[in-house]
Protein backbone atom coordinates (compact mmCIF):
# COMPACT_ATOMS: atom_id res chain seq x y z
CA UNK A 1 0.00 0.00 0.00
CA UNK A 2 1.41 3.38 -0.94
CA UNK A 3 1.14 5.89 1.84
CA UNK A 4 2.41 8.98 0.05
CA UNK A 5 -0.90 9.62 -1.66
CA UNK A 6 -2.71 9.44 1.64
CA UNK A 7 -0.97 12.48 3.11
CA UNK A 8 -3.35 15.06 4.45
CA UNK A 9 -2.53 17.72 1.91
CA UNK A 10 -3.28 15.46 -1.03
CA UNK A 11 -6.39 17.41 -1.92
CA UNK A 12 -4.90 20.86 -1.36
CA UNK A 13 -5.91 23.18 -4.16
CA UNK A 14 -3.52 23.18 -7.07
CA UNK A 15 -3.77 24.24 -10.66
CA UNK A 16 -1.91 21.22 -12.01
CA UNK A 17 -3.62 17.89 -12.60
CA UNK A 18 -2.38 15.52 -9.96
CA UNK A 19 -1.18 12.09 -11.00
CA UNK A 20 -0.54 9.27 -8.60
CA UNK A 21 0.29 5.61 -8.94
CA UNK A 22 -2.08 3.40 -7.03
CA UNK A 23 -3.90 0.09 -7.12
CA UNK A 24 -7.55 -0.20 -8.14
CA UNK A 25 -8.76 -0.71 -4.59
CA UNK A 26 -7.09 2.54 -3.54
CA UNK A 27 -8.46 4.36 -6.59
CA UNK A 28 -11.96 3.28 -5.61
CA UNK A 29 -11.41 4.42 -2.01
CA UNK A 30 -10.11 7.83 -3.13
CA UNK A 31 -13.10 8.27 -5.42
CA UNK A 32 -15.44 7.42 -2.56
CA UNK A 33 -13.75 10.05 -0.38
CA UNK A 34 -14.26 12.63 -3.11
CA UNK A 35 -18.03 12.14 -3.28
CA UNK A 36 -18.24 12.75 0.50
CA UNK A 37 -20.37 9.81 1.67
CA UNK A 38 -22.20 9.97 4.99
CA UNK A 39 -21.87 6.33 5.93
CA UNK A 40 -19.72 3.41 4.89
CA UNK A 41 -20.14 -0.11 6.18
CA UNK A 42 -17.68 -2.80 5.22
CA UNK A 43 -16.42 -6.26 6.08
CA UNK A 44 -13.06 -7.32 4.68
CA UNK A 45 -12.74 -10.19 2.21
CA UNK A 46 -10.02 -11.01 -0.30
CA UNK A 47 -9.42 -9.41 -2.79
CA UNK A 48 -11.45 -6.45 -1.53
CA UNK A 49 -9.68 -6.07 1.87
CA UNK A 50 -7.20 -3.34 0.97
CA UNK A 51 -10.13 -1.20 -0.25
CA UNK A 52 -11.54 -1.37 3.28
CA UNK A 53 -8.12 -0.51 4.73
CA UNK A 54 -7.81 2.54 2.50
CA UNK A 55 -11.29 3.73 3.49
CA UNK A 56 -10.53 3.26 7.17
CA UNK A 57 -7.31 5.22 6.82
CA UNK A 58 -9.01 8.06 4.95
CA UNK A 59 -11.46 8.41 7.84
CA UNK A 60 -8.79 7.95 10.53
CA UNK A 61 -6.66 10.65 8.90
CA UNK A 62 -9.57 13.06 8.93
CA UNK A 63 -9.75 13.23 5.14
CA UNK A 64 -13.21 11.73 4.84
CA UNK A 65 -16.03 12.83 7.13
CA UNK A 66 -18.00 9.58 7.04
CA UNK A 67 -19.18 7.12 9.65
CA UNK A 68 -17.52 3.74 9.17
CA UNK A 69 -19.49 0.84 10.60
CA UNK A 70 -17.49 -2.35 11.05
CA UNK A 71 -20.45 -4.71 11.05
CA UNK A 72 -20.20 -8.35 12.11
CA UNK A 73 -20.77 -9.62 8.57
CA UNK A 74 -21.90 -8.65 5.10
CA UNK A 75 -25.58 -9.27 5.81
CA UNK A 76 -25.42 -6.58 8.48
CA UNK A 77 -23.20 -4.36 6.33
CA UNK A 78 -25.86 -3.85 3.69
CA UNK A 79 -28.69 -3.73 6.24
CA UNK A 80 -26.90 -0.89 8.05
CA UNK A 81 -26.60 1.00 4.78
CA UNK A 82 -30.28 0.50 3.98
CA UNK A 83 -31.12 2.35 7.18
CA UNK A 84 -28.56 5.05 6.44
CA UNK A 85 -29.88 5.51 2.91
CA UNK A 86 -33.48 5.72 4.11
CA UNK A 87 -32.30 8.34 6.60
CA UNK A 88 -30.94 10.40 3.72
CA UNK A 89 -27.27 9.47 3.67
CA UNK A 90 -24.97 8.80 0.74
CA UNK A 91 -23.65 5.29 1.31
CA UNK A 92 -20.93 2.95 0.07
CA UNK A 93 -19.72 -0.58 0.63
CA UNK A 94 -17.49 -3.12 -1.09
CA UNK A 95 -17.45 -6.90 -1.13
CA UNK A 96 -16.98 -9.96 -3.35
CA UNK A 97 -17.49 -13.70 -3.67
CA UNK A 98 -18.52 -15.37 -0.39
CA UNK A 99 -19.15 -11.96 1.21
CA UNK A 100 -21.63 -11.15 -1.54
CA UNK A 101 -23.25 -14.55 -0.99
CA UNK A 102 -23.69 -13.79 2.72
CA UNK A 103 -25.15 -10.39 1.74
CA UNK A 104 -27.72 -11.83 -0.66
CA UNK A 105 -30.94 -11.23 1.32
CA UNK A 106 -30.43 -7.46 1.81
CA UNK A 107 -28.78 -7.33 -1.64
CA UNK A 108 -32.06 -8.34 -3.28
CA UNK A 109 -34.05 -6.03 -1.03
CA UNK A 110 -31.86 -2.99 -1.80
CA UNK A 111 -32.88 -2.85 -5.46
CA UNK A 112 -36.54 -3.47 -4.57
CA UNK A 113 -36.47 -0.58 -2.12
CA UNK A 114 -34.84 1.58 -4.80
CA UNK A 115 -31.97 2.62 -2.53
CA UNK A 116 -29.06 4.21 -4.44
CA UNK A 117 -26.34 2.41 -2.50
CA UNK A 118 -23.03 2.07 -4.34
CA UNK A 119 -20.90 -1.04 -3.95
CA UNK A 120 -17.51 -1.91 -5.37
CA UNK A 121 -17.69 -5.56 -6.36
CA UNK A 122 -14.06 -6.67 -6.47
CA UNK A 123 -14.92 -9.67 -8.58
CA UNK A 124 -13.79 -13.08 -7.38
CA UNK A 125 -14.33 -16.53 -8.78
CA UNK A 126 -16.97 -18.75 -7.20
CA UNK A 127 -15.99 -21.30 -4.61
CA UNK A 128 -15.71 -24.27 -4.58
CA UNK A 129 -13.00 -25.35 -5.81
CA UNK A 130 -11.42 -23.12 -3.15
CA UNK A 131 -10.09 -19.96 -4.70
CA UNK A 132 -9.48 -16.45 -3.46
CA UNK A 133 -8.59 -15.21 -6.94
CA UNK A 134 -10.28 -13.12 -9.57
CA UNK A 135 -13.10 -14.09 -11.92
CA UNK A 136 -16.54 -12.75 -12.72
CA UNK A 137 -18.55 -15.62 -11.25
CA UNK A 138 -19.78 -13.64 -8.20
CA UNK A 139 -21.04 -10.68 -10.23
CA UNK A 140 -22.56 -12.94 -12.90
CA UNK A 141 -24.38 -14.98 -10.28
CA UNK A 142 -26.29 -11.88 -9.15
CA UNK A 143 -26.97 -10.36 -12.56
CA UNK A 144 -30.74 -10.81 -12.12
CA UNK A 145 -31.12 -9.00 -8.81
CA UNK A 146 -31.90 -5.56 -10.17
CA UNK A 147 -28.57 -3.83 -9.52
CA UNK A 148 -26.82 -1.77 -12.17
CA UNK A 149 -23.45 -3.40 -12.91
CA UNK A 150 -20.59 -1.65 -14.70
CA UNK A 151 -17.28 -3.43 -15.42
CA UNK A 152 -14.08 -1.39 -15.47
CA UNK A 153 -11.08 -1.93 -17.74
CA UNK A 154 -8.38 0.17 -16.06
CA UNK A 155 -7.51 1.63 -12.64
CA UNK A 156 -8.35 5.11 -13.95
CA UNK A 157 -11.74 3.85 -15.07
CA UNK A 158 -12.32 2.40 -11.58
CA UNK A 159 -11.76 5.84 -10.05
CA UNK A 160 -13.91 7.71 -12.54
CA UNK A 161 -16.66 5.10 -12.65
CA UNK A 162 -16.91 5.07 -8.86
CA UNK A 163 -17.64 8.80 -8.87
CA UNK A 164 -20.12 8.42 -11.73
CA UNK A 165 -21.80 5.45 -10.01
CA UNK A 166 -23.17 7.67 -7.24
CA UNK A 167 -24.59 10.14 -9.72
CA UNK A 168 -26.21 7.36 -11.77
CA UNK A 169 -27.63 5.57 -8.71
CA UNK A 170 -29.09 8.75 -7.21
CA UNK A 171 -30.63 10.06 -10.45
CA UNK A 172 -34.37 10.33 -9.79
CA UNK A 173 -35.19 8.40 -12.97
CA UNK A 174 -32.98 5.51 -11.81
CA UNK A 175 -32.92 5.19 -7.99
CA UNK A 176 -31.17 1.83 -8.09
CA UNK A 177 -28.10 0.43 -6.37
CA UNK A 178 -24.95 0.24 -8.49
CA UNK A 179 -22.04 -2.22 -8.55
CA UNK A 180 -18.70 -1.03 -9.84
CA UNK A 181 -17.14 -4.33 -10.92
CA UNK A 182 -13.36 -4.27 -10.78
CA UNK A 183 -11.47 -7.45 -11.52
CA UNK A 184 -10.04 -9.09 -8.43
CA UNK A 185 -6.21 -9.22 -8.59
CA UNK A 186 -5.83 -7.48 -11.97
CA UNK A 187 -7.55 -4.23 -11.01
CA UNK A 188 -7.78 -4.56 -7.23
CA UNK A 189 -4.01 -4.93 -6.84
CA UNK A 190 -2.77 -3.77 -10.23
CA UNK A 191 -0.98 -0.43 -9.82
CA UNK A 192 -1.21 2.16 -12.54
CA UNK A 193 -0.99 5.91 -13.00
CA UNK A 194 -4.25 7.70 -12.40
CA UNK A 195 -5.23 11.32 -12.66
CA UNK A 196 -7.14 12.67 -9.68
CA UNK A 197 -10.00 15.04 -10.33
CA UNK A 198 -10.18 18.33 -8.43
CA UNK A 199 -12.31 18.13 -5.30
CA UNK A 200 -14.20 21.32 -6.18
CA UNK A 201 -15.04 19.87 -9.60
CA UNK A 202 -16.30 16.65 -8.04
CA UNK A 203 -18.44 18.65 -5.60
CA UNK A 204 -19.96 20.61 -8.47
CA UNK A 205 -20.51 17.43 -10.48
CA UNK A 206 -22.26 15.60 -7.64
CA UNK A 207 -24.52 18.37 -6.36
CA UNK A 208 -26.72 17.84 -3.30
CA UNK A 209 -27.42 14.43 -1.84
CA UNK A 210 -31.13 13.62 -2.22
CA UNK A 211 -31.62 9.90 -1.77
CA UNK A 212 -34.69 9.47 0.45
CA UNK A 213 -37.27 11.66 -1.27
CA UNK A 214 -39.27 8.54 -2.20
CA UNK A 215 -39.08 6.57 1.05
CA UNK A 216 -37.63 7.64 4.36
CA UNK A 217 -37.04 6.90 7.99
CA UNK A 218 -38.17 10.37 8.98
CA UNK A 219 -40.35 11.33 11.98
CA UNK A 220 -41.59 14.36 10.05
CA UNK A 221 -42.86 12.13 7.21
CA UNK A 222 -44.20 9.00 8.95
CA UNK A 223 -44.51 5.94 6.69
CA UNK A 224 -44.02 2.20 6.91
CA UNK A 225 -41.20 1.15 4.59
CA UNK A 226 -41.41 -2.17 2.74
CA UNK A 227 -44.66 -3.53 4.22
CA UNK A 228 -46.17 -6.88 3.26
CA UNK A 229 -48.06 -6.39 -0.03
CA UNK A 230 -50.73 -9.02 0.70
CA UNK A 231 -51.57 -12.33 -0.92
CA UNK A 232 -53.59 -13.68 -3.79
CA UNK A 233 -57.29 -12.81 -3.74
CA UNK A 234 -56.62 -9.20 -2.77
CA UNK A 235 -54.74 -6.32 -4.30
CA UNK A 236 -51.34 -7.65 -3.14
CA UNK A 237 -50.09 -9.30 -6.34
CA UNK A 238 -51.18 -6.33 -8.48
CA UNK A 239 -49.32 -4.02 -6.10
CA UNK A 240 -46.29 -6.29 -6.38
CA UNK A 241 -46.44 -6.13 -10.19
CA UNK A 242 -46.57 -2.33 -10.07
CA UNK A 243 -43.34 -2.18 -8.06
CA UNK A 244 -41.60 -4.85 -10.17
CA UNK A 245 -42.47 -2.92 -13.33
CA UNK A 246 -41.08 0.16 -11.60
CA UNK A 247 -37.76 -1.63 -11.11
CA UNK A 248 -37.70 -2.60 -14.79
CA UNK A 249 -38.48 1.03 -15.71
CA UNK A 250 -35.59 2.20 -13.53
CA UNK A 251 -33.24 -0.29 -15.19
CA UNK A 252 -34.23 0.86 -18.69
CA UNK A 253 -33.89 4.52 -17.62
CA UNK A 254 -30.41 3.65 -16.36
CA UNK A 255 -29.23 2.96 -19.93
CA UNK A 256 -29.99 6.58 -20.82
CA UNK A 257 -28.74 8.05 -17.55
CA UNK A 258 -25.46 6.07 -17.65
CA UNK A 259 -24.82 7.51 -21.13
CA UNK A 260 -25.71 11.06 -20.05
CA UNK A 261 -23.57 10.91 -16.91
CA UNK A 262 -20.58 9.58 -18.87
CA UNK A 263 -20.97 12.47 -21.34
CA UNK A 264 -21.26 15.02 -18.54
CA UNK A 265 -18.21 13.52 -16.81
CA UNK A 266 -16.16 13.62 -20.01
CA UNK A 267 -17.10 17.25 -20.63
CA UNK A 268 -16.17 18.29 -17.10
CA UNK A 269 -13.09 16.16 -16.42
CA UNK A 270 -11.78 15.48 -19.92
CA UNK A 271 -11.81 11.70 -19.63
CA UNK A 272 -14.26 9.80 -21.80
CA UNK A 273 -15.24 6.16 -21.36
CA UNK A 274 -17.73 4.21 -23.43
CA UNK A 275 -20.80 4.10 -21.16
CA UNK A 276 -22.48 0.92 -22.40
CA UNK A 277 -20.46 -0.69 -25.18
CA UNK A 278 -17.05 0.21 -26.56
CA UNK A 279 -16.20 -0.44 -30.21
CA UNK A 280 -12.52 -0.97 -30.97
CA UNK A 281 -11.37 -1.43 -34.55
CA UNK A 282 -14.94 -2.18 -35.61
CA UNK A 283 -15.19 0.28 -38.53
CA UNK A 284 -14.23 -2.29 -41.19
CA UNK A 285 -14.30 -5.43 -39.06
CA UNK A 286 -15.44 -8.69 -40.61
CA UNK A 287 -15.47 -10.56 -37.30
CA UNK A 288 -15.35 -9.47 -33.68
CA UNK A 289 -14.30 -10.46 -30.20
CA UNK A 290 -16.41 -9.54 -27.21
CA UNK A 291 -14.70 -8.80 -23.90
CA UNK A 292 -15.51 -7.64 -20.38
CA UNK A 293 -13.33 -5.93 -17.80
CA UNK A 294 -9.55 -5.83 -17.54
CA UNK A 295 -8.92 -8.60 -20.09
CA UNK A 296 -9.74 -6.02 -22.77
CA UNK A 297 -6.24 -4.50 -22.59
CA UNK A 298 -4.58 -7.69 -23.78
CA UNK A 299 -7.34 -8.19 -26.35
CA UNK A 300 -6.67 -4.73 -27.82
CA UNK A 301 -2.95 -5.47 -28.13
CA UNK A 302 -3.68 -8.73 -29.91
CA UNK A 303 -6.21 -7.09 -32.21
CA UNK A 304 -3.73 -4.31 -33.08
CA UNK A 305 -1.19 -6.95 -34.11
CA UNK A 306 -3.77 -8.99 -35.99
CA UNK A 307 -5.02 -5.93 -37.87
CA UNK A 308 -1.45 -5.01 -38.75
CA UNK A 309 -1.19 -8.51 -40.23
CA UNK A 310 -4.27 -7.85 -42.35
CA UNK A 311 -7.03 -9.51 -40.30
CA UNK A 312 -10.30 -7.55 -40.23
CA UNK A 313 -11.04 -8.07 -36.55
CA UNK A 314 -12.43 -5.68 -33.94
CA UNK A 315 -13.53 -5.72 -30.31
CA UNK A 316 -16.88 -5.00 -28.76
CA UNK A 317 -16.33 -4.50 -25.03
CA UNK A 318 -19.28 -4.37 -22.68
CA UNK A 319 -18.99 -1.91 -19.83
CA UNK A 320 -22.58 -1.94 -18.58
CA UNK A 321 -23.66 -5.57 -18.24
CA UNK A 322 -26.79 -4.80 -16.19
CA UNK A 323 -29.07 -3.45 -17.58
CA UNK A 324 -27.97 -5.38 -20.68
CA UNK A 325 -27.28 -2.86 -23.49
CA UNK A 326 -29.31 -4.64 -26.16
CA UNK A 327 -29.74 -1.73 -28.61
CA UNK A 328 -26.11 -0.63 -28.31
CA UNK A 329 -24.96 -4.19 -29.00
CA UNK A 330 -27.28 -4.60 -31.98
CA UNK A 331 -25.68 -1.45 -33.42
CA UNK A 332 -22.15 -2.51 -32.58
CA UNK A 333 -22.50 -5.99 -34.06
CA UNK A 334 -24.58 -5.10 -37.15
CA UNK A 335 -22.99 -6.53 -40.28
CA UNK A 336 -20.51 -8.72 -38.43
CA UNK A 337 -19.95 -12.23 -39.83
CA UNK A 338 -18.62 -14.10 -36.77
CA UNK A 339 -18.25 -13.45 -33.04
CA UNK A 340 -15.99 -14.90 -30.35
CA UNK A 341 -17.23 -14.06 -26.86
CA UNK A 342 -14.69 -14.23 -24.03
CA UNK A 343 -16.08 -14.74 -20.53
CA UNK A 344 -14.33 -14.93 -17.16
CA UNK A 345 -17.10 -17.04 -15.63
CA UNK A 346 -19.37 -19.93 -16.41
CA UNK A 347 -23.05 -20.24 -17.29
CA UNK A 348 -23.51 -23.75 -15.96
CA UNK A 349 -27.00 -24.19 -17.39
CA UNK A 350 -26.03 -23.39 -20.97
CA UNK A 351 -22.51 -24.84 -20.88
CA UNK A 352 -20.96 -21.57 -22.06
CA UNK A 353 -20.02 -18.14 -20.72
CA UNK A 354 -22.78 -15.85 -19.38
CA UNK A 355 -21.95 -13.01 -21.78
CA UNK A 356 -22.05 -15.49 -24.67
CA UNK A 357 -25.42 -16.75 -23.44
CA UNK A 358 -26.87 -13.24 -23.36
CA UNK A 359 -25.24 -12.20 -26.63
CA UNK A 360 -27.07 -15.00 -28.45
CA UNK A 361 -30.31 -13.07 -27.81
CA UNK A 362 -28.77 -9.99 -29.41
CA UNK A 363 -27.50 -11.95 -32.43
CA UNK A 364 -31.06 -13.21 -32.96
CA UNK A 365 -32.18 -9.59 -33.33
CA UNK A 366 -29.67 -8.96 -36.11
CA UNK A 367 -32.00 -10.87 -38.43
CA UNK A 368 -29.33 -13.09 -40.00
CA UNK A 369 -27.27 -16.00 -38.73
CA UNK A 370 -23.99 -15.14 -37.04
CA UNK A 371 -21.75 -18.07 -36.09
CA UNK A 372 -20.45 -17.54 -32.57
CA UNK A 373 -18.14 -19.30 -30.13
CA UNK A 374 -17.94 -19.12 -26.36
CA UNK A 375 -14.46 -18.77 -24.85
CA UNK A 376 -14.01 -19.14 -21.10
CA UNK A 377 -10.77 -17.94 -19.56
CA UNK A 378 -9.27 -16.12 -16.64
CA UNK A 379 -10.93 -18.35 -14.06
CA UNK A 380 -9.40 -18.32 -10.56
CA UNK A 381 -7.12 -15.42 -11.44
CA UNK A 382 -5.61 -16.98 -14.58
CA UNK A 383 -4.06 -14.50 -16.99
CA UNK A 384 -5.59 -14.17 -20.46
CA UNK A 385 -2.51 -13.12 -22.37
CA UNK A 386 -2.01 -11.49 -25.76
CA UNK A 387 -0.96 -14.94 -27.03
CA UNK A 388 -4.22 -16.42 -25.75
CA UNK A 389 -6.14 -13.70 -27.60
CA UNK A 390 -4.25 -14.45 -30.82
CA UNK A 391 -5.56 -18.02 -30.54
CA UNK A 392 -9.07 -16.63 -29.85
CA UNK A 393 -8.79 -14.47 -32.97
CA UNK A 394 -7.73 -17.49 -35.08
CA UNK A 395 -10.54 -19.65 -33.74
CA UNK A 396 -13.12 -16.89 -34.28
CA UNK A 397 -11.85 -16.28 -37.83
CA UNK A 398 -12.28 -20.01 -38.48
CA UNK A 399 -16.02 -19.58 -37.83
CA UNK A 400 -16.22 -17.76 -41.19
CA UNK A 401 -15.52 -21.08 -42.93
CA UNK A 402 -16.25 -23.94 -40.55
CA UNK A 403 -19.20 -24.73 -38.26
CA UNK A 404 -19.17 -23.17 -34.79
CA UNK A 405 -18.20 -25.44 -31.87
CA UNK A 406 -21.09 -26.66 -29.75
CA UNK A 407 -19.05 -26.54 -26.54
CA UNK A 408 -17.12 -23.71 -24.90
CA UNK A 409 -13.40 -23.31 -25.58
CA UNK A 410 -11.48 -23.23 -22.27
CA UNK A 411 -8.64 -20.73 -22.73
CA UNK A 412 -6.39 -21.63 -19.81
CA UNK A 413 -7.03 -25.36 -19.90
CA UNK A 414 -3.51 -26.24 -21.05
CA UNK A 415 -1.50 -23.42 -19.42
Amino acid sequence: MSTAVLEKNQYAATAKPRHIVCEGNEAAALAVAMVRPDMISVYPITPQSSLVEHLAKLVADGRMDAEIVDAEGEHSVLSVLQGASLAGGRTFTATCGPGLAFMFEPYFRTSGMRLPIVMALVTRDGITPQSVWGGHQDAMTVREVGWVQMYCETVQEVLDTTIMAFKIAEHHDVMLPVNICLDGNYLSFGAARVTLPEQAEVDAFMGQTDVNWHAALDPLRPMAVDPLTGGSGGKGPATFVRYRKGQCRGMQNALRVITEVHEEYAARFGRAFAPLVERYGMEDAEFALMTLGSMTGAAKDAVDEARAAGKRVGIVKIKTFSPFPIEALVKALAGIKAVGVVDRSVAFRWNCGPMFQETQGVLYRLGYHVPAASFIGGLAGADITVEHFHRVIEQTEALLRAPAPTEPIWINESD
Binding site: G112, M113, R114, L115, M175, W213, H214, A215, A216, P219, L220, R221, P222, M223, A224, V225, D226, P227, T229, T239, R242, Y243, K245, G246, R249
Partner: protein, 100 residues
Protein backbone atom coordinates in the same frame (compact mmCIF):
# COMPACT_ATOMS: atom_id res chain seq x y z
CA UNK B 1 -52.11 1.25 19.93
CA UNK B 2 -51.17 4.81 20.75
CA UNK B 3 -53.34 7.40 19.09
CA UNK B 4 -50.71 10.07 19.64
CA UNK B 5 -49.41 11.31 16.32
CA UNK B 6 -47.20 14.35 16.03
CA UNK B 7 -47.19 14.56 12.24
CA UNK B 8 -49.63 13.43 9.53
CA UNK B 9 -48.72 10.29 7.62
CA UNK B 10 -46.69 10.81 4.46
CA UNK B 11 -48.85 11.23 1.37
CA UNK B 12 -46.87 10.11 -1.72
CA UNK B 13 -49.50 11.44 -4.15
CA UNK B 14 -49.35 14.95 -2.70
CA UNK B 15 -45.55 14.98 -2.69
CA UNK B 16 -45.35 13.83 -6.31
CA UNK B 17 -43.49 10.60 -5.60
CA UNK B 18 -44.17 7.91 -8.27
CA UNK B 19 -46.11 4.95 -6.90
CA UNK B 20 -43.74 2.33 -8.33
CA UNK B 21 -40.58 3.05 -6.33
CA UNK B 22 -39.94 1.76 -2.79
CA UNK B 23 -43.03 0.02 -1.39
CA UNK B 24 -44.37 2.13 1.46
CA UNK B 25 -47.54 2.06 3.54
CA UNK B 26 -49.17 5.25 4.74
CA UNK B 27 -52.26 3.84 6.43
CA UNK B 28 -52.11 2.10 9.79
CA UNK B 29 -53.60 -1.39 9.78
CA UNK B 30 -52.52 -2.74 13.16
CA UNK B 31 -52.96 -6.34 14.25
CA UNK B 32 -52.34 -6.95 17.93
CA UNK B 33 -51.32 -10.33 19.39
CA UNK B 34 -54.74 -10.54 21.07
CA UNK B 35 -56.32 -10.80 17.59
CA UNK B 36 -54.75 -14.21 16.93
CA UNK B 37 -54.22 -15.68 20.43
CA UNK B 38 -55.33 -19.34 20.79
CA UNK B 39 -54.90 -19.70 24.58
CA UNK B 40 -56.01 -17.17 27.19
CA UNK B 41 -54.52 -16.79 30.69
CA UNK B 42 -56.99 -16.54 33.63
CA UNK B 43 -55.76 -15.16 36.98
CA UNK B 44 -57.19 -16.63 40.19
CA UNK B 45 -57.33 -13.54 42.45
CA UNK B 46 -57.52 -15.65 45.63
CA UNK B 47 -54.21 -17.36 44.82
CA UNK B 48 -52.34 -14.28 43.51
CA UNK B 49 -49.99 -12.77 46.12
CA UNK B 50 -48.61 -10.01 43.79
CA UNK B 51 -45.13 -11.52 43.74
CA UNK B 52 -44.75 -10.09 40.16
CA UNK B 53 -43.04 -13.19 38.73
CA UNK B 54 -45.54 -13.10 35.83
CA UNK B 55 -44.78 -9.42 35.31
CA UNK B 56 -41.06 -10.16 35.14
CA UNK B 57 -41.35 -13.06 32.70
CA UNK B 58 -44.02 -11.81 30.30
CA UNK B 59 -42.24 -11.36 26.92
CA UNK B 60 -44.75 -8.81 25.62
CA UNK B 61 -45.16 -6.80 28.86
CA UNK B 62 -48.91 -7.32 28.99
CA UNK B 63 -49.20 -7.88 32.79
CA UNK B 64 -51.16 -5.05 34.40
CA UNK B 65 -50.99 -4.20 38.11
CA UNK B 66 -54.30 -4.11 40.04
CA UNK B 67 -54.84 -3.12 43.73
CA UNK B 68 -54.57 -6.70 45.02
CA UNK B 69 -53.51 -8.84 42.06
CA UNK B 70 -51.91 -8.81 38.63
CA UNK B 71 -54.14 -8.94 35.56
CA UNK B 72 -53.57 -9.47 31.83
CA UNK B 73 -54.00 -6.90 29.04
CA UNK B 74 -55.76 -9.16 26.55
CA UNK B 75 -55.17 -6.78 23.63
CA UNK B 76 -51.47 -7.55 23.63
CA UNK B 77 -51.32 -10.98 25.33
CA UNK B 78 -50.33 -13.58 22.71
CA UNK B 79 -51.20 -16.53 24.90
CA UNK B 80 -47.73 -18.01 25.16
CA UNK B 81 -48.39 -19.35 28.68
CA UNK B 82 -45.04 -18.40 30.15
CA UNK B 83 -46.79 -16.59 33.05
CA UNK B 84 -48.82 -19.70 33.86
CA UNK B 85 -45.70 -21.88 33.77
CA UNK B 86 -43.64 -19.52 35.93
CA UNK B 87 -46.28 -18.53 38.53
CA UNK B 88 -45.04 -20.07 41.83
CA UNK B 89 -48.56 -20.10 43.27
CA UNK B 90 -50.29 -21.73 40.30
CA UNK B 91 -52.57 -18.68 40.19
CA UNK B 92 -52.70 -18.56 36.36
CA UNK B 93 -54.29 -21.17 34.12
CA UNK B 94 -54.47 -21.22 30.33
CA UNK B 95 -57.82 -21.90 28.70
CA UNK B 96 -58.55 -22.32 25.00
CA UNK B 97 -60.01 -19.33 23.16
CA UNK B 98 -63.32 -20.33 21.60
CA UNK B 99 -64.82 -19.00 18.39
CA UNK B 100 -67.57 -16.50 18.86
Amino acid sequence: MSTHRAYPMFDPAKSGVPDDLCPIATEMSPMLPGDWRSMRPIVDRDKCVKCAVCWLYCPVQCIVERPAWFDIDLRTCKGCGICATECPHRAIVMVAETTE
